[in-house]
Symmetry: C2
Subunit: 336 residues, 2 copies
């Protein structure tokens, strides 16, 4: 049994730089026609020259495999001229509250002061992508931030807003309420809860931001995704860290899911008896909300089991060592 996906897209992706970029980019390029590239590098991508350099590095890292990096600029105060110049080269601006996750120190410290730039985004029809967490108690951060999304959606009704990597039932409820809001959902938040991170032994490889929530939250995400909500977009938030950042005192947050994304999604959708909705989740919904047309790139999946390697270079992947039922068609993955 095979499954052909028409230009699948990963709408939230961390590709890093240099050696790590060269290690991980091919896994995304092998599965996706394109992806939305996060700008929170050690030096944030907050200017067109940096953005162009980064795009070129990504394309080089993907090698012969066609892959469209949909670039984002790190949110700061931008002038109208800057945004006009950038508009055709970005899919959106990515907003981080200051200090909320990996390399977000340059993010927004005061939401009362973002209105001018956000109004320009609305006027110029540039989407705003948001890491929506407060600095509150770790399990409450996303819920506490939802008021900001509501304020944005109501104050800027023509602005397209993307709630990135949502994890809670309450975020799904906000999504329902506003047509100008879409949301990305990761693979791992469809699968794990805090129990998987800290319920048995502590599992640094499953530690991510936003942190995995409760079984009730996961169920709400799964219901919304599997029922085919038209404004839920797949975004892996695949975020590799080398082993030494995962095993030291103080482990970095991020799950490296790129190598397993499509095969595992196919398995989940099959288990939920809605395989016919996978294509919309990984491509159609994103095209519609973002109004993009990726280059045509069919990606085949086959129902052939394989085992996820323990390590990819220095990085341990999501589901390392586990057997998956679906694999990339024509991939060289070792069959079980």
């Amino acid at each position: 049994m095979t499954l052909l996906l028409d230009s699948p897209l990963d709408m939230h992706l961390h590709l890093r730089e240099q050696e790590m970029l060269r290690l991980v980019a091919p896994f995304s390029a092998a599965q996706f026609a394109g992806g939305v590239i996060m700008p929170n590098l050690v030096q944030p991508v907050d200017s067109l020259p940096r953005l162009r350099d980064y795009r070129a590095a990504i394309i080089a890292a993907c090698g012969p495999e066609p892959f469209t990096p949909y670039m984002t600029l790190f949110f700061r105060d931008y002038s109208r001229a800057e945004l006009l110049a950038a508009r055709d080269e970005v899919i959106g601006l990515k907003l981080y509250p200051a200090g909320i996750t990996t390399q977000s120190e340059a993010g927004v410290a005061d939401f009362d002061r973002i209105g001018t730039t956000v109004a320009l985004l609305e006027e110029l029809d540039i989407p705003l992508l948001v890491h929506g967490e407060t600095a509150g108690f770790v399990m409450d951060r996303e819920r506490e931030f939802l008021a900001v999304y509501q304020w944005l959606a109501e104050t800027f009704p023509r602005l397209r807003i993307v709630m990135e990597h949502i994890t809670t039932a309450e975020a799904v409820a906000v999504l329902e309420r506003y047509d100008n809001i879409a949301a990305t959902v990761t693979l791992h938040h469809l699968m794990i809860t805090l129990d998987d991170v800290a319920g048995g032994l502590l599992q640094p490889d499953l530690f991510c931001k936003p942190i995995a929530k409760t079984p009730r939250d996961r169920e709400a995400l799964r219901q919304a995704v599997f029922r085919g909500h038209p404004r839920l977009l797949f975004g892996s938030d695949s975020a590799p860290h080398p082993r030494d950042k995962k095993e030291c005192c103080g482990c970095a947050a991020g799950v490296f899911s790129a190598p397993v994304a499509l095969p595992m999604l196919a398995q989940l959708f099959e288990e939920a008896d809605c395989l016919e909705r996978l294509s919309a989740f990984v491509s159609g919904n994103a095209r519609q909300f973002y109004r993009i047309t990726p280059p045509q790139k069919p990606v085949g999946l086959q129902r052939a089991a394989w085992r996820v390697p323990e390590l990819y270079g220095s990085v341990r992947a999501f589901l390392a060592g586990q057997e998956l039922r679906w694999s990339l068609a024509g991939s060289g993955e070792a069959k079980v």
Copy 2:
């Protein structure tokens, strides 16, 4: 400024065995007149011969320092004869739900079947110490278990029950309701929440079971302890793991707080302006509830700062690298 404590007691302590026992026991003996020794060794302490061997090993590990190990037997079905024989050598039986924490596989799988042994404990006036967690969602495990405590307290009204290492506001509320229930509180649960474990970088050294809860829960514990609740007993739950069990994929649960217990408690009580209540928390309340009279052993604390070493042997201690305001009087701790 010095503070003299009269025979302080650590009412919940993991001393391990062999090399680790010899490493960690002196830290408890230096600060405490005695401690309640947990029986969940790799081979549970569930017979008198094993208990006697373990007690002898502990006393040997403490060296010249006087320290009374108050021994516990691992809860299983015991006969009346067994309990009669053990009564004078144990401070209580320690009950673990099966599989709920480190080395608890031999614990109770079916609470409907413990009544006979628990009735014997009540008859023979042997306290029952309980690790009170269900196998539910990690943040709800203690709350879900509270019904068992209530059943025990009401079904066996003369049984003395200790809720070990409580972490939630709801557990404090249960404590208020039943005179035959006491509870131990750790140092770390007075200080940390899940934010400290997983709110920034993931901190394996702060990962423990029960997992640290919310700011609201911590506040309820602090209020109850600092106001001098007579049935709240200090129990460090100090539980050392070597570095390699804290830094691998899958980190073990346990905070090694023995080296800092009394100095940090003094600091907390001083900050809460209730230093005069420290003695009851670390000794008086336990003597009263357990009806024990430890050998006289005054322990002095002085208001002299020191820095907690990064490592004790292979073990990283709670508050490693941090400066504490109080130290053991006459200790060889390096002063800052």
